[in-house]
């Protein structure tokens, strides 16, 4: 509990990114070590170890049931692992925090199914996601500062929804909702973005724009993308991790991975 409060109290927007106490001097921003999750005896994650470097864009692929979504759930606090450690930077133990605290610490998540607040308009959706003090009383008396208004306008521009800013989010098309959700992610100014199937159901052009956006984010943010669309993965990936039955099968460039005999076996079911 103390930790939660501390993170709220020390919000520092100077570098435009949340999580002031994040310590990444040793390179990795996210450490998963020997993480195991089982549901009724089924091991969704099996001694999974994974490291994401600061500023990296990492793609994670794997057949259905490989544990990709469960891994995201563990990182964001939705699921508690049976064993293992999960650290954000050197010092923040994610297993000690709940979902809102993890979000405020600087980990943003985009869900597989577009999930925006349908009854609120586009602008309000972004306003709620905005990185700021999210405790009860400050929220009750919050007023939008000109700088905050500007940053919302900027994100509206980035995701191409400026014209729809007053529209109810529920009335947007599927692709627009996906973009709004990416916009909400940007408003949170996370240090690490977890993106679950960002291009599912998108048209070809939308997919291309999403690839561009994700590429432009890497560097300042670390991005982890879970995706089925191999074409898309090839277009953005520098490093690919293949998950299979809850642990890492192999890691490397797209070409290395695609020619790996075990990967071919797993994907073709041979």
């Amino acid at each position: 509990m103390n930790r939660v409060v501390r993170i709220h109290d020390t919000i520092d927007d100077s570098d435009g990114v949340a999580s002031p106490e994040l310590d990444t001097v040793h390179g990795p921003i996210l450490y998963l070590e020997d993480v195991t999750v089982s549901f009724d005896g089924f091991r969704a994650l099996n001694l999974l170890s994974l490291y994401i470097d600061d500023g990296e864009l990492r793609c994670i692929i794997g057949p259905n049931g490989a544990g990709k979504t469960t891994m995201m759930d563990v990182i964001t606090g939705k699921t508690r692992p049976d064993q293992g450690t999960v650290f954000f930077g050197q010092t923040i133990d994610l297993l000690q925090l709940d979902e809102p605290a993890i979000a405020q610490a600087g980990i943003g998540r985009k869900f597989q199914k577009p999930s925006v607040f349908e009854q609120l308009n586009v602008f309000e959706n972004l306003e709620l996601a905005m990185h700021t003090d999210k405790r009860v009383w400050p929220t009750l008396f919050a007023r939008l500062q000109p700088a905050q208004r500007e940053s919302i306008a900027e994100v509206l521009e980035t995701v191409g929804l400026t014209a729809q800013r007053r529209d109810r989010a529920g009335s947007l098309s599927h692709g627009q909702k996906q973009w709004l959700e990416i916009g909400m992610l940007l408003m949170q100014k996370p240090k690490l973005l977890l993106v679950d199937e960002p291009v599912a159901g998108m048209t070809h052009q939308e997919t291309e724009r999403t690839a561009e956006l994700l590429l432009s984010l890497a560097g300042k943010h670390s991005v982890v993308v879970v995706e089925h669309d191999m074409e898309f993965v090839r277009s953005i990936a520098r490093k690919v991790t293949v998950l299979h039955e809850g642990s890492v099968l192999t890691e490397g460039t797209m070409d290395e991975v695609q020619n790996h005999p075990r990967v071919i076996e797993v994907y073709l079911g041979a």
Partner: protein, 372 residues
């Protein structure tokens, strides 16, 4: 300045506050200023009934906040109302003094009847009006805080939460029925004589309490509007529509739910405290689960998530109840049930939603005509 801005932006709210002011002023002057012989004279009884409706309206406002905006369907809000009512009733009970049937200056009648020798500790302090007022706010607030903390922390939602709120009010009803509890058991608290030295039977006192109720409703409305128009209002709406998503963008959902639940419970308690001096009695049947269900129906009929819809629903349904129970008492519960079913099926947004739809169609027609 902020509040003025708030009211200025809320067109329906301006209409509501104007209507409320006109109604309050005209009802009280028709009673006090018009001579009894005149046909225009309003009886004190009517004023009191109107005051009762307004205290119900404040209660409906409280339910709309948690249900309409935050999606917490509380079927136990009657409990907070009754607790506020009991706190006020206890004060008025102490004001009776030695004018009771047994003429005991130290103990209320029902305690003398039970052969109690001294006042239980939890009655201490209720001699003072300010202490009673504090309890009107604190007791429902503390109960809501404890109950809400336990329920929301364990992430109890939806129908399960509704059922345990219902259980809460039922348990309180059973407890207050017991004579040993020291709240008058079955009969509750009644036979009040005066409040702050003013005779409760006098027209002036009655009208004053009525006006105070109208004022509280107005203040309650503005306060609720402030909450729902703030960023918190949007967070709470977000929680209603996608709770876990709200959590993942960094809001402690439980804290927000708890805050709005406690705020609403306090409002319900104040409504109860205004209700009791007007009806002159508070007994355990106020805790009955049926009461809590009824007030959800008021909000549904008026239209939830609008605030003024809740007020409208409370006044209309209670007026219907007064008329019905006078003419055909045995039919009332069937009528109420039928009303709820038909509102759910045919007017999911209540009367306010229906009116908005009509206005839209009407506005469209006008536009087309002007185009032609």
């Amino acid at each position: 300045m902020d509040l003025a801005n708030l009211v200025a932006q809320d067109r329906a709210g301006k209409v509501f506050l104007t209507v409320l002011t006109i109604a309050a002023v005209s009802i009280s002057s028709l009673n006090l200023l018009v001579p009894e012989s005149s046909a225009l004279h309003l009886s004190t009884f009517t004023v009191t009934v109107a005051g009762k409706y307004l205290s119900y309206a404040l209660l409906a406002l409280a339910v709309d906040l948690v249900w309409g905006y935050c999606g917490i369907l509380s079927l136990g809000h009657g409990a907070f109302f009754a607790l506020g009512g009991y706190a006020m009733g206890m004060h008025m009970m102490r004001q009776i003094g030695e004018r009771g049937v047994y003429g005991n200056a130290l103990l209320p009648d029902f305690m003398v009847f039970l052969n109690w020798k001294e006042l239980p500790w939890y009655w201490l302090g209720f001699d003072h009006f300010c202490f009673a007022l504090l309890m009107v706010v604190l007791v429902p607030g503390a109960l809501a805080c404890l109950f809400g903390w336990l329920a929301f922390r364990s992430r109890v939602t939806g129908v399960y939460l509704s059922i345990i709120t219902q259980a809460l009010t039922y348990a309180l009803m059973l407890a207050f029925f017991r004579n040993e509890m020291g709240f008058g058991g079955n009969n509750g608290l009644t036979d009040f004589k005066d409040i702050l030295g003013c005779n409760l039977q006098k027209d002036g006192t009655r009208v004053a309490i009525f006006l105070l109720t109208a004022l509280s409703l107005g203040v309650g409305y503005v306060a609720s509007r402030f909450v729902v128009a703030s960023k918190m209002g949007r967070v709470v709406t977000a929680i209603r529509d996608a709770e876990s998503r709200t959590r993942f963008i960094g809001y402690q959902v439980e804290h927000f739910k708890l805050w709005i639940f406690v705020f609403s419970a306090v409002m319900a308690g104040i409504a109860g405290a205004l209700y009791v001096p007007q009806v002159g009695i508070i007994n355990p049947s106020e805790f009955s689960p049926l009461n809590s269900l009824e007030l959800v129906i008021w909000v549904a009929v008026g239209g939830r998530g609008t605030l003024y819809g809740a007020v409208l629903g409370a006044v209309l349904v209670n007026y219907a109840k007064t008329v019905f129970t006078g003419v055909l008492p045995e039919v009332w519960l069937f009528a109420l049930g039928g009303l709820f079913v038909s509102v759910t099926l045919f007017m999911p947004d209540g009367l306010v939603g229906l009116a908005q739809k009509w206005f839209r169609v009407w506005g469209l027609n006008l536009k087309q005509r002007s185009n032609a």
